[in-house]
C-alpha cells in the first residue's frame, strides 16, 4: 500500500531536481573544493553556487553562510560558539522552554560548563512574547536564541521584535529556523538576527547538510576545528553533493514558495476546520493565525498520540505525535506542557504536516478515517474520560 505522507515537519522527500543537481557531484565532479587544480575547482563551483542560492533565499551575503552537517550542528555552533567567544565578559543565555532538543540539550551542556541559562515560557498558543524576552535579558546576557517556528505546534515567533530588543541591549540573536527556511519568506535583516540555523532536508533537500547564517562581524568562535574550510569557521572537507542539493532546494524554494504555501495552508485549514467539527473533545494546539502554513496540530482527549500514529499508519497515513515512548512510559510533549496543556490531554497529541505533493483528496480520506479511529481508541483507552 502506498502511504500518504503527512509528516513533512519531520522530513521532506528530496525533489527530483535536487537529486539530479547532486548526481554530477557524486560522479564526475567529485573533487576536493580546497584543491587548486581543475578537478577541485569544479567541485568548488558547485559549493559556491549553492552558497549564492542559499544567501538569496534568506537575504544574506554569500560570505555569511557557513555550511554544516545539519541543523543541529548549526544550533550547537551558534550557542557554543557565542558562549565560548564571549564568556569572559558575559555568561548568560536566554532561550525558551519550547525549543528543539538541539537547543535545549546544548544549553544544558553549557550550564554544566558554568553558563547561566534562562528559559522563557510561552503563552497557551506557544507564542514567546518579546516583552518576556526583554525581561529575561540582563547585562550579562551574551545570546538570545528563540526558534522561528515551533516544530510541534507550528507557532511562528516574533523574531523581528525580539531581535530589535536584543540589538538595543547589544546581545547576539540566534534563531533556529529549521522549520521555516524554504517555507516562509525570510530576510535576516528584517528578523534582526545575527545567527540563523537551517537544515536542507526540511525543504526538499538531502539529509546530512545544513547551514548557519553568521552575520559579518559577529563574535562567534569556530565550532569544528581543523582545516580552513568555510573561511576557517567550519573545518572538514565539504559535503559537496549535499551542499549542491541544499543550494538547489533553496533555488526551488525561492521560485515555488508562494504557490506551495497557498496550497499547503488550504490543506491545513481543511483539516483544522473539519476535524473540530467531526471529532468531539478535540483541542487545536498552536496559534490560530501565527502558524506554519503546513502545520495542523491538535490533541484528542482520551487517546494516546502513539495509538493514533500507529492506527493511521496501518490505514496508510504517516503522521506524528508529540508524545514519545521511553522506557515503556508515554511521556507527553514538553512543548505542550510548557504551553500549559494538561498532561492527560497532551498525551493525545497529533501533528499533521503537509507538503507540495499532498492533495485535497488525500485530506478527505484522512478526515473520513479519523473519527472511526478515535472512537475505537477511546473505547480501548483507560484514560478515555474526556
Amino acid at each position: 500500500m502506498e502511504q500518504v505522507y503527512f509528516d513533512h515537519a519531520a522530513t521532506t522527500p528530496p525533489r527530483e531536481e535536487v537529486v539530479q543537481a547532486m548526481l554530477p557531484y557524486l560522479r564526475g565532479k567529485w573533487g576536493n573544493p580546497s584543491s587548486l587544480h581543475h578537478t577541485g575547482s569544479r567541485a568548488l563551483e558547485g559549493v559556491e553556487r549553492a552558497r549564492e542560492h542559499l544567501a538569496s533565499l534568506i537575504g544574506a551575503q554569500p560570505e555569511e553562510i557557513v555550511f554544516t552537517g545539519s541543523g543541529t550542528e548549526a544550533d550547537n555552533h551558534a550557542l557554543i560558539g557565542s558562549w565560548v567567544a564571549n564568556r569572559n565578559r558575559r555568561n548568560h543565555l536566554v532561550t525558551s522552554s519550547i525549543e528543539h532538543h538541539a537547543i535545549h540539550h546544548t544549553a544544558a551542556f553549557l550550564e554544566t560548563l558554568g553558563a547561566r541559562v534562562t528559559y522563557v515560557s510561552p503563552d497557551e498558543f506557544g507564542l514567546v512574547h518579546s516583552e518576556a524576552v526583554r525581561a529575561a535579558i540582563t547585562d550579562e546576557t551574551v545570546l538570545v536564541s528563540i526558534m522561528h517556528a515551533n516544530n510541534e505546534v507550528g507557532t511562528i515567533q516574533p523574531i523581528g521584535k525580539i531581535g530589535a530588543i536584543c540589538r538595543e541591549r547589544g546581545v547576539l540573536v540566534h534563531t533556529d529556523a529549521v522549520q521555516t527556511v524554504g517555507h516562509l519568506p525570510i530576510a535576516v535583516n528584517d528578523l534582526n538576527v545575527d545567527l540563523l540555523s537551517l537544515s536542507a532536508h526540511k525543504f526538499y533537500g538531502p539529509k546530512g547538510v545544513g547551514a548557519l547564517y553568521l552575520r559579518r562581524g559577529s563574535t562567534v568562535a569556530s565550532f569544528i576545528h581543523g582545516g580552513g574550510q568555510e573561511l576557517g569557521r567550519r573545518a572538514s572537507t565539504e559535503n559537496v553533493a549535499g551542499i549542491v542539493g541544499l543550494g538547489e532546494a533553496a533555488r526551488l524554494a525561492r521560485q515555488d514558495m508562494a504557490a506551495e504555501s497557498a496550497h499547503v495552508s488550504s490543506l491545513r485549514d481543511m483539516v483544522l476546520r473539519e476535524l473540530e467539527a467531526r471529532i468531539p473533545h478535540l483541542h487545536l494546539t498552536g496559534h490560530p493565525t501565527q502558524r506554519l502554513p503546513n502545520n495542523a496540530s491538535f490533541c484528542v482527549s482520551g487517546v494516546e498520540g502513539e495509538g493514533l500514529v500507529l492506527d493511521l499508519d496501518a490505514a496508510g497515513f504517516a503522521v506524528s505525535s508529540g508524545s514519545a515512548c521511553s522506557s515503556g512510559a508515554l511521556e507527553p510533549s514538553q512543548v505542550l506542557l510548557a504551553m500549559g496543556i494538561a498532561p492527560l490531554i497532551a498525551r493525545g497529541s497529533l501533528r499533521v504536516s503537509f507538503g507540495r505533493t499532498n492533495t485535497s483528496a488525500e485530506v478527505e480520506r484522512f478526515l473520513e478515517l479519523m473519527p472511526a479511529i478515535v472512537d475505537r481508541l477511546r473505547k480501548l483507552s483507560p484514560v478515555a474520560a474526556c
Partner: protein, 78 residues
C-alpha cells in the same frame, strides 16, 4: 582607462585562487553573450590566473588595467 561601461562589477580583492575564478565564472553564467563584466583582483597570482581561466573557458579578456591596489580585468561574456 577604457570608455567601455561594464554591465556588472565585482571586487574580488582578498579572495584567493581559485575562489576568485569560481566567483567570476558564476557571474559570467548569469550574463548574456556580449555583456561586459569588470573584475578587480589582487595583483600577483590572481591577476595571472583569473584572465587565463577566463580565456580557457572561452570568454574574452577585453582589457587589463593595473590599479594602485589591484588589477582590473574587463571580460566579455562569449
Amino acid at each position: 582607462m577604457t570608455v567601455l561601461k561594464p554591465d556588472k562589477c565585482i571586487d574580488l580583492r582578498g579572495t584567493p585562487c581559485p575562489l576568485n575564478w569560481v566567483k567570476t565564472k558564476l557571474r559570467l553564467e548569469e550574463m548574456e553573450p556580449g555583456m561586459l563584466l569588470e573584475v578587480v583582483v589582487d595583483d600577483g597570482a590572481p591577476a595571472r590566473n583569473v584572465p587565463r581561466s577566463v580565456e580557457t573557458e572561452g570568454h574574452r579578456v577585453v582589457e587589463t588595467t593595473r590599479l594602485p591596489d589591484g588589477v582590473r580585468v574587463l571580460i566579455e561574456r562569449c
